[in-house]
Amino acid sequence: MLVHIFINGEKRKVHCQPDAMLLEVLRDAGCKSVKCGCDTTNCGLCTVWLDGKPVLSCSVPAARVNERHVTTLEGIQDEAEAFGKYLVGEGAEQCGFCSPGLIMNVVAMKKELDHPTDDEIRHYLEGNLCRCTGYMGQMRAIRQYVDEEVEA
């Protein structure tokens, strides 16, 4: 079937199977930052924005996205760098496979929550699993990123 999707602001014609999920469509469209970690909506690796809100692209049928706006990490490179520099500064990217999904969610969280507490951050990002860091380095990086503009 044919679906029209705005991928990172650019209108794209996508030919896909009727049961194709957004995740595979995005990867086929060249957005390789979007990772598959589980297939069962448990890990958060495939997080992208649909009309500006985080969704798990492994569970969104591509057909549902017709004429809608999808944002991947490729589309927010400045934000990726703005938060990413703290992740790298803490050594909290480690293997990096969960980083794109985490970053999409952290950047969305910063827009959504005002002065979040550590507990609010943990709950917002509960679905973003990581097996490398034990979450501590990520939390330190998120804290720095979230506090950054508050101070400015």
Binding site: D39, G96, R122
Partner: protein, 776 residues
Amino acid sequence: MRYVSQPVKKLDGMPIVKGKPLYTNDLAPNECLIVLALRSPYAYARIKSIDTSKAMLVKGVECVLTYKDVPHVRFTNAGQTYPECSAYDRLILDEYVRYVGDEVALVAANNEKAAQQALKMIKVEYEVLEPVLDYKKAVDNPTIVHNYDDYFMHIPSFNADNKRNIVVDGVEEHGDVEKEFAESEVIAEGEYEVQAQEQCMMESFRTYTYLDHMNRLVVVSSTQVPFHVRRSLARALQIPQSRIRVVKPRIGGGFGAKQTIVSEYYPAIVTLKTGKAAKMIYSRKETFSCSNSRHQMCIKVRVGADKEGNIHVIELDTLSNQGAYGEHGTTTIGLSGHKAIPLYNQARAHRFKYRGVYTNMMPAAAFRGYGATQGQFALESTVNKLAHMLDMDPLLLREKNMLRMGEIMPAYYNEPLNSSALDRCIQRGRDMIGWDEKYPCKEISPTKVRAVGMSISMQGSGISNVDTAGAEIKLNDDGFYTLKIGATDMGTGCDTSMTQIAAETLLADIDQFIVAGVDTDISPFDPGSYASSTTYVTGMAVYNAACDLKNKIITAGAKMMYPERFLDETDKVNPKKFYFDGNRVMEVSTGKTIALHDIAVHCAGTSDGNYLNGTGFYSSPVSPPPLMAGFVEIELDKETGKFDIVDYVGVVDCGTIINSNIVRGQTEGGICQGIGLAMYEDVQYDAKGRMMTDSFMQYKIPNRVDVKKIRVEFESSYEPTGPYGAKSIGEIVINTPGPAIAEAVYNACGVRVTSLPITPEKVKMGMMKNELEKQK
């Protein structure tokens, strides 16, 4: 030091966080055939007949392969140095399937839909056999998991006996064990079980393959062991190693899972058969149920001591569930004793019995900790129990008995302990957790209690006398360097930490270096990243290569200053007379200098130049143990048995820290993974041998709400055989949570849980049992 011990950012950090295409499946060409496996629905069966004709008719299908299409030469998929310690008990596809999920057939198609459809069209008739699903009943079971005669094991002393389902069998003894037990005033004992924990790296197993213009097989794979992949593929496919090139891109985590060669054989054989590029991406379900996990082990322990708390004798008896194939079976079980018993090196005698058995379950292989985790859970739990029997603070009991610097460790291949800050680790952890105020427990409400527990740990740094590493650093014509290592950065940051060692030694800036990723055509030989070997073994090889190159640069500089003095190639430049400061070579007596850039240009581009390439090699007769103390505070609800971690403190002696960011991340991450082992992660099979916990829905790993507070610190020692005094960090960090949390639970409610994970159900059941016994 400029780079060693500094929080240097990982060199690949920014591309990673910007989501650049760096991983195997990001790089695979679009035209790759999709390879899928048909997997056994039975725990044990023989394939009576298999008909692939209908599957071949599906549009887009390129090939369907069965056991009839593969070389009948057995191999091991364990990524270990040759001769491997694991039995040759595998074929790429076999007439027998030995666990639910074992490969029956392969389909390759030009799209995934077609491949999936073809899988359904393969008609298989099975002769279903009775499986062995209880590892305690595996030896001499009427069911023989590997019932054939071409079973092969390089090392006879492991006593493998496939006709009895025995992978490994042995006993080691030191001192007079029976006499020591007879004379012991207090004997603590117990039987412990550690589950088959799953590694759960975020990137599943994946490989793509193609034939290059010279008709060589190129294998791009998410692996910890590129050189072992090359050797094992060559044997399995019956082609020369020289026809295979293995390339490792960025890896999304390994934790030992990728020390076993899982996804590589299948696309490789498809490419050889079809001549076309092929890729295989394991689903999460396959990664859970059709690959490998930690070894489930049952360990019986006895510890004999006098009333003053001097431990005289330790006995440890390990039974290990190998599952269906023998990878890493003999070695993991070894660590359950060799890396537990030496913790109490003052003991005069010890006995270590071990037996590993085949069952019809998913194979166990390598996972961070590699048997030491299991052995230490059993021994540390028993020592904590002994402290209660003696009414002694467990810290004092450890101070009396633990291994000390300068000692020979009889249970650790008689290796010496050259460095240790374990005493300081314990002291620091004690202060950080507030042990003296909190031990053993405090009621904080009528139903809730807070309690503390602790454990100590050791691991190794590489495999003594086995691990080797090569390293090369070349000076390029513009004065920058290329560092070539065969160790595999899998997110662990070794490309960065190895560069730090090189930059420190060559007095260079870190951005003067390019690190070449592992490519078996180009990289120096290295077994790969496992056994906590990279920083220690490869790090020394890099150090040696840097020293070699430094000498060559000095020589080249001196020759440029005084060409007439060093006419003969064999003329040696006296290193005391010339000096390299990272930017230039200087003659000490005259102050005359020549810049590195000029040396590089001269060497590369003039007829009397030279190719300046430093080479280094390292292999160590010892495997120096890093040491650690772990402390936990929990809050337990006595009404439900549920408990949470309030605080976890880990203090590690990993010798000199090379990269303080990386070791902290390793330590926090390892502790979190250990908490998962201790509290949540529970592999379950049904009665027919099907794994039920094959997704993150059923198999819970810790998330960031579960694990709120982990604090880590480091106490440094200096390991004389390591690069700048470094030891390892990667594995030791997973070991303390199991026994420390079990002890905290005991201190909170009097229940000693002896099987992991420690679930609220087990705690509550234990409390009810204690209650009943009290009433009696």
